[in-house]
Amino acid sequence: MELLELISWAFDHVLVIPTTNALVLISRLSLGNYGVAIILFTLIMRAVTWPLSRQQLHAARSMQALQPRIQEIQKKHKDPKRRSEETMKLYREGGVSPLGCIWPMLVQFPIWIALYQAIRLTLGATPESLLDLSQRLYPWSYLRTAVPLENQFLWMDLGQPDPTLIMAILVGASMWVQQRMTTPSNASMDPQQASINQTTMVMMPLMFAFFTLQFPSGLALYWVATNVIGIVLQYFYMGPAQFSWRRIFTFTPAPAPAVRQAKQSPAENPNPPTEPEEPPAADEAHRRRRRRRRGRRR
């Protein structure tokens, strides 16, 4: 129990209280417009956590690049154990960790929760929450005189759930698009995996859209802002040339590039690849390993 209290205290003092004060400060600097403050704060947080996001995007891209080869393994090996071994070997060779996407996400998770709590706290929808806020603001009159904050932003009372469905739709749609951008084409997966992926991709946006109907719209604004920033980051990280909006909004699974090439007839494809194209990350790791082996032989 004491350990839990300690963790709670540390979480409060290291994350929630600084986040709360930062939000109030930004709100004051943006002339008391709390909606603008939430968007600015989201931008700042995305900038601060950019190294983690980049790692996550990199892992996702590497995983995506390996999909054609994973599919090959699945076709080649019928024994599940062997298939799993070969897949793991491929990951090792490609220098890709299957959990590479999730660790950066996990590290960001406490930040999201702290931000969520800070938004709830600062909105002070009830007298009790304002009283609570008074005990969490740093003793700086610039901050202390900033509250209560202006709750109105566009059509929303940021302290209350959005009575229209607009924010729920925006949250769900932006989250769905962001997920579609990071998820590889289902054509390169086995049917079970594709089915799980499809379910997750639908459930997550639906769940957050449902949350939006229950939670203060200030939080929904944060979710929309962070999703939109995520989409923009993803777009530029992948490179506009690599990007296909058509793939995002194509509901029927499209074949992955490598698979498409393999299925093409020689007439359709004048330069058929003799080997599946190696992804850049896997290729580099392969070369490094070969160099090391050669070094050892010498």
Binding site: I102, S129, Q135, Q192, Q193, T200, M204
Partner: protein
């Protein structure tokens, strides 16, 4: 045939689980629900005390429940929560401001509804009633201040408008109504017409009820300052700065203004000069409840439920140790007088959990504890 399971879906699925767990663990109940902190009040043989969304009319002699509001079985009235102190209007009525934005006028004897007035937004402050009992003044979270007669009919041609919610109880002094608003201002309003006489702008919102005495208006604000303003013109006579907001109603007695702050200290200020009578008394916990005076001892209760007695002459603790109720207290203290003053007064405290605690102000000993509605 067993299918190979790829680790790809893990992040998404795990994120869903983590989100649900985190939201549940973080106490993330969607929107914060109002609890209410209406203070107890007494008029002769009737004592009104509230817990959350329910008001209890108690016999002042034995604290037996005479009636409660809303009446059992009435689903049409949903006050949500009670923050504003109920008020007695004349000999026959009780006014109850509620968080659902409605002011209810009830029969004093039976609790039956006489009339109601809907402002459309939460009523956090209480009601000021004219001495004759023929007019009631109150503010709403919609920023308006209303004046109603004994039949619930508006007196002014239009409500007085402020720019932000009004969370405090107006104060009536002669023909002027003093109102504070979260728009940082103190307003002086003519009670007959609802016209503005003057306004004073503080550096932050004001949630504290103003007190008028000796030609001054004493008011605390979220800019952490306790001020004395002129009653007839908005000049600042003096101000005292604390380390956190003033939210509780100040108390003026014998030329001294007492005020508790959310910085956990009690300030005693000379009403005329603004000089500190004694160094601030450290209660240890934030003070939201208004203080009460019994003889020479000032009683304050912090939000943690510790009752402190302070010697008004020296500012020192009047008792060896504070009395700990062991429960959060946000409602003002009440000095309960026995009907006919046959018994010595006692302190009545209503906790957030709904316990009515009676404390002997002589030795700071608990007399009894009653669960409201229990």
């Amino acid at each position: 045939m067993t299918k190979h399971r790829s680790p790809r879906p893990l992040p998404g699925a795990l994120l869903v689980i983590l989100t649900v767990v985190a939201i549940a663990a973080g106490g993330c109940s969607s929107v914060a629900s109002p609890q209410g902190w209406a203070s107890p009040v007494q008029d002769g043989d009737l004592l009104l005390a509230a817990h959350r969304d329910e008001l209890f009319a108690l016999d002042a002699a034995d604290l037996a429940v005479r009636w409660s509001f809303p009446p059992a079985g009435n689903d049409e009235i949903d006050p949500v929560a009670l923050y504003g102190t109920p008020a007695f209007m004349g000999e026959e009525m009780v006014l109850v401001p509620t968080y659902d934005g409605v002011l209810y006028a009830l029969e004093r004897e039976s609790g039956n509804l006489r009339w109601q007035y809907d402002t459309g937004d939460a009523l956090i402050g209480g009601v000021a009633v004219s001495e004759a009992g023929d007019a009631a003044y109150f503010g709403s979270a919609n920023g308006n201040v209303y004046a109603l007669d004994a039949e619930g009919v508006p007196i002014w041609s239009a409500p007085f408008e402020t720019d932000e919610p009004v969370w405090s109880t107006p104060s009536l002094a002669g023909d002027t109504l003093f109102v504070t608003s979260l728009d940082r201002r103190v307003y002086a309003i003519a009670v007959e017409t609802g016209a503005q006489r003057w306004e004073f702008k503080a550096d932050a919102g004001i949630g504290s009820t103003p007190v008028v005495a000796g030609g001054s208006v004493f008011v605390g604000a979220f800019d952490s300052q306790l001020r004395a303003l002129g009653e007839t013109s908005p000049y600042e006579r003096w101000s005292v700065k604390a380390d956190n907001w003033f939210w509780s109603r100040p108390l003026e007695a014998a030329g001294t203004v007492y005020a508790g702050s959310l910085d956990g200290r009690v300030y005693a200020i000379d009403a005329a000069t603004g000089e500190e009578r004694w160094p601030p008394f450290d209660a240890g916990g934030p003070i939201r409840a208004a203080p009460a005076l019994v003889g020479e001892v000032l009683f304050v209760v912090d939000t943690d439920g510790n009752i402190h007695g302070i010697d008004t002459e020296t500012g020192a603790a009047a008792f060896a140790a504070p009395f700990a109720i062991g429960d959060e207290v946000l409602a003002d203290l009440l000095v309960r007088e026995s009907p006919g003053e046959t018994e010595p007064p006692e302190l009545v405290i209503v906790t957030t959990a709904g316990n009515l605690v009676r404390v002997d102000p002589v030795d700071l000993r608990q007399i009894a504890i009653t669960e409201l509605g229990g």
